[in-house]
């Protein structure tokens, strides 16, 4: 029974494809892909709508107010109202803008975000597109976002847009390194770039109690924290929302966008956040595996989305709690702390592996991380003044 | 027979070496840690020496050897090694113990010096080198340590580098000993050439073992004499003794450690170590080389004792006394009393270190004053120093029964008396004994008796760090005699490997009365001559020495070290200067003229070729140049400086290659 519920969506798709029996192979392939794509879009656009209202609600609770509560029960229809508003708004394109680039930027950014969703395993046998180098695909597609952001900044022909784009690209490039490097220990330990294999490697329980998720190893925990911070930056979330800091540069690269294009940016940002969180769940939190053997009867995709939702909640929570960082502090943090720590995670994972992946490896890798962390934090003591701020602009 | 002890023996010299290296890296301000490190290194060395010494007690004639290959050239392997036998063990213990006392003393004595850390680095360095020298089982390794010891001595004599006299003395010491080392090194080479090994003991193949000695034959005498050259230089024997008194310019602990107790004894030790080389000959016991040793020793002993009488500097008196005593040891070795010589060496190491440290304490108390004529009456102001110094003085003078020096001197007298070829050394040494008692009495009277003069009025007792080593050394000087008495000659037995038994009757011997009379005579004469020293007497002013008043010419002759330095100045050094000047002149005028002459010829040739070149060749070259320049201008047009043009040219070239290929195919 639980098995059939677990595989209900897979079976449904299988049944759908059997209706096409007799068609050429490529038709079946195309239809299968289309089914996957539509399912993905349906799920994540719904999730986007849900999260957009939930975020406002949660933020409101944190700030001790009600939040949206007029449209529908508990304000749940708010996203629909927002959508309608966005659609019927005037689409303004600045006169001096580079029209084509200006037009293509939101499309590209949304496409990149959605593409990244395609390689994440959402449940048992529920990976939309199984690619051998899935993790690489994720990062390759993710890196196109930078180009899209730049296109938005350049195409708008506006100094706020340009500055915002510059800031966004600078921080995305800086944090892309720790993001990738923290994924590396997992890849090393599993010795595969395929997300399915990575999830499969986290099956089982130590002492039948603690799940074998990588987040429960010292290097995995450290890498997960670093990954989470890098994810915050990559999706331009508070406290790293410098590129669109309203008080400084209006809305960054999105300043000159309005109407549905703006909504697309907004959506791309959220979907990017889902993608990063989904990858984090896959890499460190055991993917769709249940946290205890007794709970394995619950369908795998439920677990995945439960974990994803938890991460998203933390995202929102962080946004409600922390103020915005300064650009130079953020860069210093990336290059002087995140990068060395990411390398340390790789080292610690290697230590863990060669010390036998048992308790001994656990302790040794903890030692490695503790030593480097202590040394780094002593070196980068924040009570000491950072060097005076120097901004370099090319004339 | 191999023991674990020899495998780890290298730790003994290594400990001070390591300490020295660490101290060298310390900053000048880390005085406390420098001293602590040096003393810790020395204590470690002492502890290990005691441990090793304990091993040697188990079997008589104990000897263990550990050899290793240093490097190989061609088919020959150069091997070094360590040896451990009673001779080495006793020396090791003496060096480590005396060294430790002196280290501790230095903490107090050098307390005000600004280069405190450097001093301890040097001291530790010296100590390591000396300990290494003692346990070396290869003449080459011994020579290496020998030279390191010399280097340490040089550094320490010149420690107060800002004093020109210290720098001079350091240079003098280095160069003078180098003359002896030259001979030593030649001896080593000769020995290697003859026997093919420099190891002392190597399972019967070493150069001191029968097989090795057999290869030497008649050359053994010359090799022994050449090696003795080294000993003469290092131990300050007669022709090369001049550096030792001057070496007193160094800090007093250095004088005590290096120029009294240990390094200068290295020469004696060397002779004892390679004794089989010396004693190799038709008539066993009396060989030409040993005869030379005896006469050099006698000359040195007597001469230095005479000079010591007329010295005014407290340390120079002791220095000449050291030279004299070393001569005595050489005599003992020469006449066949190896054990006696070494026993005296050990005893002398303790009481001479004691005397020097006592002198240091006196100098320290008198604020750097070294002239004994300006001291006096210190027995009340510095009681500890006085008593310990008195012990040292009596040990040196050879007062029997209670002081170690007395028994060892007795042994030497016994050995000398029975020397077959001649009795002259025996009588000369007896004279030396009287003189020794005399000059020591003179010094003690000058320093400690009478009324305080000049600077001595403000003298004060030295700190604990300085008096404690004095007391320890004084106790050593007294209790060391326990193992020396003829009634129970334990040390003699230990060194020679003969069994020892107690026999109280041997304590009283005729020789004892002879030496008692001689020493008593010397002391009495001293007291009588110098009873009013330092005070005016009849028409003699206070600052004039009684002996000087009586015999001014003789006194001047002795006070200036028998004019030997001046003699060298006039002869050897003058000759060196003259030859240097000659070489300089040759270089300036003769060889230079030759070179200049060649230069002039070349210049003339150059002028000739220039004119030919100007007239004949250049014209042609000019034409060519003009042509080349035109061509260059033509070609340079193709150099547009634009990369795209170049890239296009490359593409066209590629196309041409393609076409060529197609046409060929």
């Amino acid at each position: 029974m639980s098995k059939s519920i677990d595989q209900i969506f897979v079976n449904a798709k299988q049944w759908l494809l059997t209706c096409l029996g007799g068609s050429p192979t490529w038709v079946i392939q195309v239809v299968s892909s289309l089914v996957n794509i539509f399912a993905l879009l349906a799920v994540f656009l719904t999730l986007f709508a849900l999260i957009s209202v939930l975020e406002r609600k949660i933020l409101a609770r944190i700030q001790n107010r009600y939040g949206p509560n007029r449209v529908g029960p508990f304000g749940l229809f708010q996203p629909i109202a927002d959508g309608i508003k966005m659609l019927i708004k005037e689409d303004i394109v600045p006169a001096r803008a580079d029209k084509i680039v200006h037009f293509l930027a939101p499309i590209l950014i949304a496409a990149a975000a959605i593409l990244a969703l395609g390689v994440i395993p959402y449940g048992r046998k529920m990976t939309p597109f199984t690619i051998d180098g899935g993790i690489l695909f994720f990062f390759a597609v993710g890196s196109t976002t930078e180009l899209a952001v730049f296109m938005a900044g350049w195409g708008s022909n506006n100094k706020f847009s340009m500055l915002g784009a510059m800031r966004a690209i600078a921080q995305m490039i800086s944090y892309e390194l720790p993001l990738i490097l923290t994924a590396l220990p997992v890849v090393m330990v599993v010795s595969s770039l395929t997300p399915d294999r990575i999830v499969a490697a986290q099956a089982g329980y130590t002492f039948g109690l603690v799940p074998r998720w990588f987040v429960f190893t010292p290097w995995g925990a450290a890498a997960f924290i670093l990954f989470f911070i890098s994810g915050l930056v990559e999706s331009n979330r508070t406290p790293f929302d410098v590129p669109e800091g309203e008080s400084e540069i209006v809305a960054g690269h999105m300043t000159e966008y309005s109407g549905f294009k703006y909504a697309t940016f907004f959506m791309a940002e959220y979907i990017g956040m889902f993608a990063i969180s989904g990858l984090g769940v896959t890499l460190f939190l055991g993917g769709w595996h249940a946290p205890a053997r007794a709970l394995e009867f619950v369908p795998s995709y439920v677990w995945f989305f439960a974990k994803l939702s938890t991460l998203l909640f933390v995202y929102i929570w962080v946004r409600g709690t922390l103020p915005r960082t300064r650009v130079d502090q953020m860069m210093n943090f990336a290059w002087k702390f995140m990068l060395p720590m990411a390398f340390t995670c790789i080292l610690a994972a290697a230590v863990w592996h060669y010390a036998g992946r048992g308790l001994r490896g656990w302790l040794w890798s903890l030692l490695v991380i503790a030593i480097v962390y202590t040394a780094l934090s002593t070196l980068l003591d924040t009570r000491r003044k950072f060097a005076p701020r120097v901004y370099r602009f090319a004339e | 027979m191999n023991s674990w002890i020899v495998t780890y023996l290298w730790f003994v010299p290594a400990a001070p070496f390591v300490a020295s290296l660490i101290i060298l890296t310390l900053s000048n301000a880390r005085r406390r840690s420098a001293a602590a490190l040096a003393i810790a290194g020395q204590i470690a060395a002492l502890a290990m020496s005691i441990l090793a010494f304990g091993q040697t007690l188990q079997t008589p004639g104990f000897r263990v050897v550990q050899n290793f290959t240093w490097f190989t050239f061609g088919e020959q392997a150069l091997r070094l090694g360590f040896v451990f036998d009673p001779l080495g063990a006793a020396m090791l213990l003496m060096v480590a113990l005396a060294g430790l006392c002196i280290f501790v003393f230095s903490v107090g004595y050098m307390a005000e010096d600004k280069n405190f850390t450097r001093f301890f680095a040097y001291l530790s360095f010296f100590s390591g080198a000396m300990l290494g020298l003692v346990i070396a089982n290869s003449l080459l390794l011994l020579f290496i340590f020998w030279e390191l010891v010399g280097l340490a001595s040089y550094l320490l004599i010149g420690f107060w580098i800002e004093r020109p006299r210290a720098a001079e003395a350091a240079k003098k010491a280095f160069i003078t000993t180098r003359i002896g080392d030259m001979g030593f090194f030649l001896g080593i080479l000769w020995l290697y050439g003859r026997s093919g090994t420099l190891l002392f003991y190597d399972r019967g193949n070493g150069c001191l073992e029968s097989a090795g000695l057999a290869m030497l034959g008649a050359s053994a005498t010359f090799i022994a004499l050449l090696i003795f050259c080294g000993a003469v230089g290092k131990s300050g024997q007669f022709p090369l003794h001049v550096w030792l008194p001057d070496a007193m310019e160094g800090p007093t602990p250095v004088s005590a450690l290096i120029h009294a107790a240990t390094m200068v004894a290295a020469g004696v030790f060397l002779v004892a170590r390679v004794y089989p080389l010396f004693s190799l000959g038709p008539i066993n016991g009396v060989t030409p080389s040993l005869t030379v040793v005896v006469w050099i020793g006698v000359t040195t002993a007597l001469m230095a004792a005479l000079i010591a009488i007329a010295q005014a500097d407290i340390k120079r008196v002791l220095a000449y006394s050291t030279v004299s005593q070393l001569g005595l040891m050489m005599v003992s070795l020469g006449v066949g009393g190896v054990a006696a010589g070494i026993m005296h060496l050990l005893a002398h190491g303790f009481f001479k270190a004691l005397l020097f440290l006592g002198a240091g304490s006196v100098i320290h108390g008198c604020h750097g004053e070294q002239d004994i004529r300006k001291m006096g009456g210190l027995r009340r102001l510095m009681p500890v120093t006085f008593f310990t110094y008195a012990v040292g003085m009596m040990a040196l003078s050879g007062v029997p029964f209670f002081f170690s020096g007395g028994w060892t001197k007795e042994e030497i007298l016994h050995a000398t008396a029975s020397w077959a070829p001649s009795h002259a050394p025996y009588y000369l040494i007896l004279a030396g004994v009287v003189l020794t008692a005399l000059y020591m009495t003179r010094q003690v009277i000058y320093v400690f008796f009478g009324n305080p003069r000049a600077t001595a009025e403000h003298a004060h007792e030295s700190p604990r760090a300085m008096t404690m080593p004095l007391i320890v050394l004084a106790l050593c000087a007294i209790f060391f005699s326990v193992v020396l008495t003829p009634a129970w000659p334990w040390l003699h037995g230990y060194l020679t490997g003969e069994p020892v038994h107690f026999e109280i009757a041997r304590l009283i011997q005729p020789m004892l009365f002879v030496s008692l009379v001689l020493v008593g005579g010397g002391v009495a004469a001293g007291i009588w001559i110098y009873r009013k020293a330092g005070a005016p007497e009849r028409d003699r002013p206070a600052e004039i020495d009684p002996l000087e008043y009586a015999q001014p010419a003789l006194f001047r002759f002795l006070a200036n070290g028998m004019w030997i330095d001046e003699l060298y100045d006039r002869t050897v050094i003058a000759f060196s200067w003259a030859s240097a000047r000659l070489s300089d002149w040759m270089d300036r005028y003769f060889w230079d003229g030759l070179v200049r002459g060649f230069g002039a010829i070349a210049q003339l040739f150059g002028i000739f070729t220039t004119s030919v070149g100007e007239r004949g060749i250049n014209a042609g070259v000019d034409e060519t140049t003009v042509g080349t320049r035109g061509l260059g201008r033509l070609i340079s047009a193709a150099h547009s400086g634009q990369i795209q043009t170049y890239l296009g040219a490359v593409a066209i070239g590629m196309l041409a290659l393609l076409l060529l290929y197609a046409w060929l195919a």
């Binding site: - | 070609i635 340079s636 150099h639 547009s640 400086g641 890239l647």
Partner: protein, 104 residues
């Protein structure tokens, strides 16, 4: 019907020629870099195509060379663009026609 090796080679030749065109004809220094990158990419396509159409697929030599060539091209682009910026700072232009200090 599947494409032959020739088809891939012709595509790569075309890409190469377009890269050459960009490098030869445009005045802006960045275009030269773009052209060179395209020529390198054409070469990579050749490597991959020859590997794929060749008889031996293990070890994947063509893929290896392409990977290394991509890395080297990235290094080249970084240094090249840094040079463009340095040149721009110095001469206030990126027009390669005006950068002819080495004219003979």
């Amino acid at each position: 019907m599947t494409p032959t090796l020739q088809a891939f080679l012709i595509v790569s030749t075309a890409l190469f020629s377009i890269g050459l065109l960009a490098a030869l004809s445009r005045r802006h220094a960045i275009f030269i870099l773009i052209g060179i990158e395209m020529m390198l990419a054409a070469a990579n396509l050749n490597f991959i195509a020859f590997w794929r159409f060749g008889p031996h697929h293990q070890p994947p030599i063509g893929v290896m060379i392409a990977l290394f060539s991509i890395a080297i091209a990235a290094a080249e682009a970084a240094v090249g663009l840094a040079m463009v910026i340095a040149v721009y700072r110095h001469y206030r232009t990126t027009n390669v026609d005006q950068l002819d200090q080495l004219r003979g």
